[in-house]
Symmetry: C2
Subunit: 423 residues, 2 copies
Amino acid sequence: MATGWGSLLQDEQQLEELARQAVDRALAEGVLLRTSQEPSSSDVSFILMHRIPSVNGSQFSFPLLMAILVVSYAPFTLFPSLVPSALLEQAYAVQMDFNLLVDAVSQNAAFLEQTLSSTIKRDNFTAHLFDIHKQVLKEGIAQTVFLGLNRSDYMFQRNADGSAALKQIEINTISASFGGLASRTPAVHRHVLNVLGKTKEAAKILSNNPSKGLAMGIAKAWELYGSANARVLLIAQEKERNIFDQRAIENELLARNIHVIRRKFEDVSEKGSLDQDRRLFMDDQEVAVVYFRDGYMPSHYSLQNWGARLLLERSCAVKCPDIATQLAGTKKVQQELSRSGMLEVLLPGQPEAVARLRATFAGLYSLDMGEEGDQAITEAIAAPSCFVLKPQREGGVNEAKDPRSAHLTRLSNEAQMRSALKL
Amino acid sequence: MATGWGSLLQDEQQLEELARQAVDRALAEGVLLRTSQEPSSSDVSFILMHRIPSVNGSQFSFPLLMAILVVSYAPFTLFPSLVPSALLEQAYAVQMDFNLLVDAVSQNAAFLEQTLSSTIKRDNFTAHLFDIHKQVLKEGIAQTVFLGLNRSDYMFQRNADGSAALKQIEINTISASFGGLASRTPAVHRHVLNVLGKTKEAAKILSNNPSKGLAMGIAKAWELYGSANARVLLIAQEKERNIFDQRAIENELLARNIHVIRRKFEDVSEKGSLDQDRRLFMDDQEVAVVYFRDGYMPSHYSLQNWGARLLLERSCAVKCPDIATQLAGTKKVQQELSRSGMLEVLLPGQPEAVARLRATFAGLYSLDMGEEGDQAITEAIAAPSCFVLKPQREGGVNEAKDPRSAHLTRLSNEAQMRSALKL
């Protein structure tokens, strides 16, 4: 009893029943967010010590968990998104190029300094990151293993001839999120299509398990560090609605007997320390890998937190990412990479990788103060639909007021909650 | 870094961290309940029609689900329960005997009538069920396939010599719940033990997938009915906190391309009908199987609902359970079965099955008005720890005031949220 797509969006009652089914399935699959009312806790729960009298007169006690509150589901699209298979294959094929490019940029101190020189003058956040970068370089880097978990966000551009092209919006080199929840959305979308009787389409929805892949990267770093009792330190925010996304990775690690401890920057200030070999300890536990799910926005840093970040960067724990990799992900770097000839300089002797990378560039325009930036803004206002404006005018990501930028940024996050349906 | 069991229950801080981990894992695994504030809905959500401008100036719309509220987790024990493997094997071995016994009782109209005669006189609920039973028998039963999904609840009795014995508390022959959620608790308990570094114990926690088994029973009934487009009708309550338990079974069926429609008794009254062959239709869809998750307590029935139940029982859809099987699960029947010689009458020529069944009987005592009942109550008050009092005094299950009964009933429900850890 398959339903036609055409009539489906018109049938409000059927959409509502589908939504009920989809929401229950999303909840059951763990596509969860903490609520904005209780962002620091998944529940307001209590442990009840439950006592049962036994026949011989003694008592047996066990802890029973009872909840008062509450989680919700992460926003998601009701239907999967159609993705032309050629573009999907293209995205897979170019990801290693992007990873190598980010690595090359992060190891190229001269390029970073030159590219970010104008940003550093006006943007305190980037300036602080760069200060730590220079300080660590000066002292000498204690760890030769670097872990990058990068997320590329794409949109499809419709060309004049009607064909679609893959265009990268941005690459996230720190705290890239939604790998955990995205692992569970294919089941939700298969459910929705199966309810509609569209079993063939449901079978075409690709499985996706990024949380396992991310965990395997961290596990490899942990293994290379080479200390069986060392922990992974996840730097977390106090208020973290997206904790279930992170838990999915923690669970994968725990299943490999790698223990994760969640701590805030403030905890690192109070209880973190380096020994004489710059080994990192938290609460007397050695740390093999520091995994940042915090520290990517100016608001995440007090003076105390900057001190904690410096401590972590100086340590010989593997950082995911180290501060140079974080800097490599700034929009200013992304813009610089799109300049003619720049990829060839950074990836010498790799013309095929350069060609694959350049094919996904959407065209980035400086919004720096000065002639080049003014020209870009004038063109954008004249023909707004042709531009993807990203908020990288000096002053920090958060101060962007252009609603189109906000819209596109949000969209790239939501995109993770979709499933790919191969055409 | 395994922690000793002895010190664990004393360490409040560690218990709290464990509880946080366990709760997040339970939520992520779908061990969920709707909240008591919103029992009719998993969320207060809305569908947002999200429009994106595309490059060629047209708009693309897609439905995006956004949530305001909210689910919680089902209460669960922090640790798995130790189960002696001999008792677990015994419980497996005797289950088929119990299923055949319930079937034999349900097919034995004379036994049911005689056993329930005193109950019917004083208990309106059982009387109504019995009326429908007799009416259907008189008309002639339209369907020769019967589906029973029975849940036996056990406790362990410690014998004088210190050994443990498996004792059945009750058998649920209608709307037996928590098979869905119980499928997901082993992962939670493995997680808790792994966090404690008790990886060997974690590996011993048995996997358990009753929701698949329950769904396969329903699928078999659906197949025997033999109509490819017919649906499974799940009779649901309006306010159902335990919907995720039911959804787990629905999801298993949908994965086999068997569609479930959820309806209330009121919906059956308004839109259900039988054709001349007593085939059941709901909203013009043929129904192969009626799966009751409602109708097991007096408060579930208005006069209108009794009419709906009669309609369903008269139909040739497979009932899970039919009304005779529901009657076979009453406490009065359970008590009668424990009378000397009764099992031999109901299961003639099956002495081994009879022995297995009798070994699990805890001793049930009539609380009927009269000498036998008075004697049992006097003994119970004198030595309360030796009795499992079940609320079957005439007047219905709901009127029991004995707090021990309430405690034990609750416990048998909670038992489903545990995992078995083989000793």
